[in-house]
Amino acid sequence: MSYRQARYDEPLIFELKGENDFCLMSEDDVKIPEGMERTDLCLPDIPEMDVVRHYTNLSQMNFGVDNGMYPLGSCTMKYNPKYADKLSSLPTVASVHPCQDEDSIQGALRLMRELEKSLCAISYMDAVTLQPAAGAHGEFTGMLIAKAYHEDREDPRSEVIVPDSAHGTNPASAAMAGFTVIEIPSGPDGCVDLEALKAALSERTAAVMVTNPNTLGLFEKDITKLAEMVHSVGALLYYDGANLNAIMGMTAPGIMDFDIVHFNLHKTFATPHGGGGPGAGPVGVKQFLEPYLPVPRIVSEEGKYRLDYDRFDTIGKVRSMFGNFAVLVRAYSYILAQGGDGLKEVSQKAVLNSNYLKSKVVPTYEMPFAQLRKHEFVVSAKKLAKEKGVHATDIAKALLDRGFMSPTIYFPSLVEEALMIEPTESESKETLDRYAQALLDIANADPAEVKKAPISTSISRVDEVYAAKELILSWRMYQRKAGLK
C-alpha cells in the first residue's frame, strides 16, 4: 500500500497563539445601550498566515472527488467541472442582494426561469420551484404541496407510504409535514411489493414516495401499475429524484406518471458537495399542482422578468428568498454544457460504469436480487463477515487505505452487510478496474490485517462510542471537561 494521507499536528484554531493582523479601517468607540454590552469575546486572535496554514493543512487531511474515486452510493459523487466554480462566484452573483428591485436582477431571474424550464424538460414535469435548499427540503416542500392539495379538495389525508428501501429523509420529511408514515417492505425482487402497497393504500393515503431506480439501483419494473394503484385511491405519487442520474433521456418521472418530484442538483447536476453542503433541491410538479408551489414565482412579461407573490393557493415559503442561487448557477451551467444529448450520455455512461464495476466484484461479493442495475448497485459482504469476520465497515476502512473512498455501507438496511456502490459516469475503466481489484484484494486479504485498517489515513479508527459518551461539541465544552474553564 503506497497511498498515504497527509498528517499535520494541527491544533484547534482556538489553541493557536499569535498576533492578530486584521485591519479594516480606523474607528471610534461606539455606544451600546446599558445592559446590552458584551463584556468578553474570546475568539483566537492570530495572523492571517496562521489561519491559512491551519486550513490548508486540514484540507490535506480530507479526501474529495478531486483526490480520487468516491463511489458513495446514493450520493452521485461525480466530477464537478471547474467552470462552474468560476461562474458561481462571479461578482454578478456574489454581490447581488436578493431584495433588489426586479429591474436590477434581471440576469438572476432569467437564469432561474431558464433553469426551471430545463428541469421541466429533463423530468417531463410541468412546473418547477427552485426554492428548496436540499433534497430533503424538496421532499418536505413536496409533502406540504400534497397536504395543501388534499386540503384544498376538502379531502384531508393523514398517511404517507414509503418503501423500506427509501432514503431516511423520505419518512422524516413526511413526518415533519405532519403525516403518519407507513413503511412497506420490499418484495423478494428488491422492488416495491405491490401486494404490500395495495394493503397499505387507502383513502387516508396522501402520497406514496418512490425512488426509481431505487436505492438498490433497481428500476421499478411495475412502475406503471404502481402509479395506477396510487392514483386510483386519490393519492399522489412522489418521486425522489436523487437518483435521476441513472435515467436522464431514457425515461422521466413525468412520463412515469409521478405528480411531484424533487431534484438533487448537488448530485445529478454536478454541484460539489462541500463536505456536506450547500446543495439545492428544486421540486417539479404536474400542472394541477402548480398553484401550490412556493412564492415568488418568476414570470416573464414582455421580455422582462417579474416576481409574482400574489398566488392564492401557494403554500407560502420554505426558505427565505429564491433558493441557493449560486448552486443554481452551477447546475444551469452544467446543463447548458451537457445539453440534452450530453445528459442522456451521462446516464448511459453512469449505468455502464455501474454494471461494469458490478461484473468485476460479483460473485466475490454477493449480489442480492437481479443482476441488471442502473447507476448504482448493492452487494453484500455477508459471506465475508460470516467466514472471516470481515464486515462492511472493515472493507470500507481497508478501501480508505488504498486511496479510495468507501461505498455507502449498511444501507439500504434490507441488505445485510450492504456495500452500496455508485461509481458515476466520471470514472474511467482504468479507475474502475483498480477499485474492483482493491475490493477483491480485501476479500482475499488476511482478516487480521483488514481489521487493522485504516493505517494510511491521518488517524486510525475513531472511537465513536467515546464521542457519544463524552459529548464534546465545542471548544467551551472541551475546556469545561478538561477543567480549563
Binding site: 492578530n20 468560476k86 452573483v93 433534497g135 409535514a177 441557493n324 440534452g340 444529448d341 475503466k429 489515513t457
Partner: protein, 441 residues
C-alpha cells in the same frame, strides 16, 4: 463523452441500450427536449453575459440589508474554501479520511458557541428562516404545548417559513407587538399573549428594525419556564450581550454577515445553537471530539441517532445535506478577524449607520429614525413616497435603496429600512442624500 467500447465488450453487450432493458417501453423517452451541449468557452460566455444584467453592490452604492448584507470578505476566506479537498468531499461518513472537514466543522460549532454563549451548535441549517422553523418544533419537543409566540416585527419570509415548519406539529403562531415609540418588543403584549399553551417565545436582537432590543433579556426573567429562542445577526454579537447570557435556550441566526457573499440570497447559513440540556432534541449534524485507536485527538459525527438516516420518521429533523462549506468559510472569516477584528467590523457598522441616520434626518420629508431604540447597522425611515417607487427612482441614480417594510409589518406604510456597513463610503452617503432630496420633490 463517448462510451468505452472495452467495457461494453467485457459485459458482452452490443449496445448500452441493453442496460436499460428493464425500463418498460411505455415509460421510455427518446430524448431530452433541450439544445445540444456546448463547449466550456460558449457556456462561460453565455452565463457571464446573462448575469451581467444584474446590478451589483460593487458598482452601485447599496443601502439594502434586512438579513443579507454587503460586507467585506478578506481574500483569504476564498483561498481557504477553494481547497478542493473541502469542496469536493461529501458529508464525512468515513471519519478517518475526513478529519480536515470534521475538525473544521467542530471549530465552526465552537465559534458559534463562543459568539452566542451557548454550549453546542450544530454544523448548520439551510438558513435563518428554516432554523427558526426547526427551533419552534424543538421548543415543542422540549415543552409539548402548541402556541409559539413571535414578534410582529419580523420578516414576512420567516413568518411564512415558520408556519410551514410548524404545520406538521400543528402549532399556532401568535404575534406579540412592539413599542411604537422605541421599536423594541412590547413586554405587555407578550404578557397578554402568554397562555398555558405556549411552548416557546421568539425574539430578535437586533430586531427587524435594526434595534438592539433591550427588552429581550427580560423575557426569560418573566417567563423562566418557557423555552426562549433568540434570533441574531451574529456580527452584532461582537458588541452586544450574547443570548446565552440572558437565558436563551436556543439561538438561531443567519451566518451570511460573517464572510459569506450575498449570492442573490443563497446559499446562506442557518445558525443553530442551544444549551447542553436540549442537545438531544436538536436538529442537524453534530461533530464531536473523540480519539482514535492510538489515542490521538480525533473528530467524528455524533448523536446520529437523532438524524433521519437512523431514526427515519422519528428523527428530530429531516435535514441531511446542509451548508457545511459555508460553515468553514465563516470559521475562516472569524479566524481572520479574531475578537479584535470582529469588534472593529461591528463598531464600524454601527457608526456608519448612525452617520447615515443623521444625514437622512436632515432631509425634508424623511423621518429618520422612526424608532428611538439603539440601532446596530440599520434603521427605519418614513419616506414621503412609497418605498417601492422610491427605490425605482433611486435606481435611476445608480443607487440600490432600502428594504420596504409594509410587506413585513403591514401597518408600516411608507416605511423602509436603510442599512450601512463597512462598505458604505462617505461618497455613497452623499449620493444617497442628494438623490433622496431630489426624489422627495
Amino acid at each position: 463523452m463517448a462510451l468505452d467500447r472495452r467495457m461494453l465488450d467485457e459485459l458482452g453487450i452490443e449496445n448500452v441500450e441493453e442496460l436499460f432493458s428493464d425500463i418498460p417501453g411505455e415509460v421510455r423517452i427518446d430524448d431530452i427536449p433541450l439544445p445540444k451541449g456546448k463547449s466550456e468557452i460558449e457556456v462561460v460566455r453565455q452565463v457571464q453575459a446573462m448575469l451581467a444584467e444584474n446590478l451589483t453592490a460593487d458598482v452601485a452604492p447599496s443601502f439594502l440589508g434586512g438579513g443579507y448584507y454587503h460586507h467585506f470578505i478578506p481574500s483569504a476566506v476564498n483561498t481557504i474554501i477553494s481547497r478542493s479537498e473541502f469542496i469536493t468531499s461529501y458529508t464525512p461518513y468515513q471519519a478517518e479520511i475526513s478529519q480536515g472537514m470534521l475538525q473544521s466543522l467542530f471549530e465552526y460549532q465552537s465559534y458559534i458557541a463562543e459568539l452566542t454563549a451557548m454550549d453546542a451548535a450544530n454544523s448548520s441549517n439551510y438558513d435563518w428562516s428554516t432554523a427558526l422553523g426547526e427551533a419552534a418544533t424543538m421548543c415543542h419537543r422540549i415543552l409539548p404545548k402548541r402556541t409559539f409566540l413571535v414578534p410582529e416585527a419580523m420578516s414576512w419570509d420567516k413568518r411564512s417559513v415558520l408556519k410551514n415548519y410548524v404545520s406538521g406539529a400543528k402549532l399556532n403562531v401568535v404575534e406579540y407587538s412592539y413599542d411604537p415609540f422605541t421599536g423594541e418588543l412590547d413586554l405587555d403584549s407578550v404578557r397578554e399573549k402568554m397562555t398555558e399553551d405556549v411552548c416557546g417565545i421568539y425574539a430578535e436582537v437586533p430586531n427587524l428594525f435594526g434595534i438592539i432590543d433591550s427588552q429581550a433579556p427580560k423575557l426569560k426573567q418573566e417567563f423562566p419556564n418557557i423555552p426562549l429562542v433568540v434570533g441574531v445577526n451574529p456580527l452584532s454579537l461582537a458588541l452586544v450581550k450574547p443570548p446565552g447570557e440572558y437565558g436563551a435556550d436556543i439561538v438561531i441566526g443567519e451566518g451570511q454577515p460573517l464572510g459569506l457573499p450575498m449570492n442573490v440570497g443563497g446559499p446562506s447559513l442557518g445558525i443553530f445553537a442551544c444549551r447542553m440540556e436540549h442537545v438531544r432534541k436538536m436538529p442537524g449534524r453534530l461533530i464531536g471530539m473523540t480519539r482514535d485507536q492510538d489515542g490521538r485527538r480525533a473528530f467524528c459525527m455524533t448523536l446520529q441517532t437523532r438524524e433521519q438516516h437512523i431514526r427515519r420518521s422519528k428523527a428530530t429533523s429531516n435535514i441531511c445535506t446542509n451548508e457545511a462549506l459555508l460553515a468553514v468559510a465563516v470559521s475562516a472569516y472569524l479566524g481572520m478577524t479574531g475578537s479584535k477584528g470582529l469588534r472593529s467590523v461591528a463598531r464600524i457598522n454601527l457608526k456608519k449607520a448612525a452617520e447615515l441616520m443623521e444625514r437622512v434626518a436632515e432631509i425634508d420629508g424623511y423621518d429618520s429614525p422612526v424608532f428611538s431604540g439603539a440601532h446596530f447597522n440599520e434603521f427605519v425611515v418614513k419616506a414621503p413616497l412609497r418605498p417601492e417607487k422610491l427605490n425605482k427612482l433611486l435606481l435611476r441614480h445608480g443607487i440600490i435603496g432600502g428594504l420596504p417594510l409594509q410587506k413585513h409589518v403591514p401597518r408600516l406604510v411608507d416605511h423602509m429600512l436603510l442599512t450601512a456597513t463597512e462598505m458604505t463610503s462617505d461618497d455613497d452617503v452623499d449620493r444617497l442624500v442628494t438623490a433622496l432630496r431630489e426624489v422627495a420633490q
